[in-house]
Amino acid sequence: MLAFEGRIDELPIPEVIHIIEIGRKTGMLIIEGAHEQVTVYFKDGKVVYANPTYQRERIGNIMVKQGVVTREVINKALTRQRQIRRRNERVRIGTILLEMGAIDREQLANHISSQITESIYISMAEKKGRFKFLPGLDLSPRDIFVEMDIQDIICEGMYRADEWEKIIDKLPDFGDIYALSTNISDDGDIKLANDEWKILSLINGRRSINAIIEKARLDKFEVCKSIYNFVQLGLIKKTISEYKKVPVETIYFDNLKPKLGIVRRLIDHIRGM
């Protein structure tokens, strides 16, 4: 199969994945949505790996936060990865942790599976943008991959995409701050699951939705869905915040390329200070 590309609004991502799957193709699908960029790796039509191109949080940090490994272990693994790179080889940090004996194969497979799932969900939420399929994969023989049944993920992704639309409609800005409502209706009991209690306990009139997502260490969709439900139930309400008056965009080195003009402005201003 030759490389092919197109627009997401003309050929939605589930259909693109289906074409690759039935054609049993091997290669990389790069999805450049309006908000996120995701790369999905296929081997004989099966998804074997996926990651957001501009990952907000590094895998090592995620594993430290989850208590899977310590910071010291991650630092050792990163040092080893750097040494390997000097030999012009590329090995994923997860593979190095496995080789070091810091994690077992099942932990790594679980981590890769959740990364694939999350990446597919992210890409399916994109309504505009472009995709490109590049045949062929240059994989390190040392790296570990998992084969996943993509249809289940797509079904869940489609459900989530619909739910996301409702959530975004009700919670348009994740910089918004919510507080517990003082006049809760006494119509019947409200039952909350453990995770929902955890999320509700983080809503304190000072934290933004983004901060709650960070603090909860739960799936972003589940956190937003819970907050959406709390609003619907009248348990919480939006408060006015100083932080809201000016929208703030932070420029990071990791996603700098499209924003180099800002660095040039920065340099010009420093010259003129």
Binding site: N75, V246, I251, F253, I262, R271
Partner: protein
């Protein structure tokens, strides 16, 4: 509004607070802890957790400067601050070569945890017993392509030059 996050780091007494104060247009926010032991040449109360400075460059472009030490017990601050930085300034007290090993540890940390570029600043060059920037490069084992800049952190022009060099390097690295 666009904010740009820059990390200012270095060992205790390297001059991070002074560096930030020199260019910040607010009084730096200082989160301090008293440091026990160490050199008698240190300021009596030394910033040990985090300093914050802000430079408004125009109506919608703001530079945030976060200062923090390489002290082991504040590693968690590195985790927070090194996420999403545009670049990093590593300050060294040029009169105290004994601070180079812990600073090297900081440099290692920056290199493995963050892809963002950094520059090394050989601070306190106005002191009589200051070692040169090249001496600092040698003792710190800094790669040839990393700038090691002589500086006096009280001197605004020199601090501007450091920031200019850092962002120029950022621009080159990102291209």
């Amino acid at each position: 509004m666009i904010t740009v996050k820059t990390l200012i780091t270095g060992d205790v007494g390297a001059g991070k607070t002074e560096f930030i104060r020199t260019v910040s247009d607010i009084d730096p926010v200082l989160i301090r802890e008293k440091v026990t032991g160490g050199s008698t040449r240190l300021e009596p109360e030394t910033a040990a957790a985090m300093d914050f400075g802000r430079v408004s460059l125009d109506d919608d472009l703001v530079l945030h400067l976060y200062g923090t030490t390489g002290l082991i017990r504040f590693d968690f601050i590195y985790d927070i601050l090194s996420t999403g930085i545009l670049g990093c300034v590593v300050l060294v007290d040029s009169t105290r070569l004994q601070t180079c090993p812990p600073t090297r540890r900081t440099v290692d940390f920056i290199e493995v945890v963050s892809d963002s570029p950094y520059v090394v600043v050989a601070n306190k060059q106005d002191a009589e017993d200051a070692f040169s920037a090249e001496d600092i490069r040698y003792v710190l084992s800094v790669a040839d392509d990393v700038p090691v800049l002589p500086c006096v952190a009280r001197n605004k022009e020199q601090v501007k030059e450091v920031l200019y060099t850092l962002f120029d390097r950022t621009l080159v690295s990102a291209n």
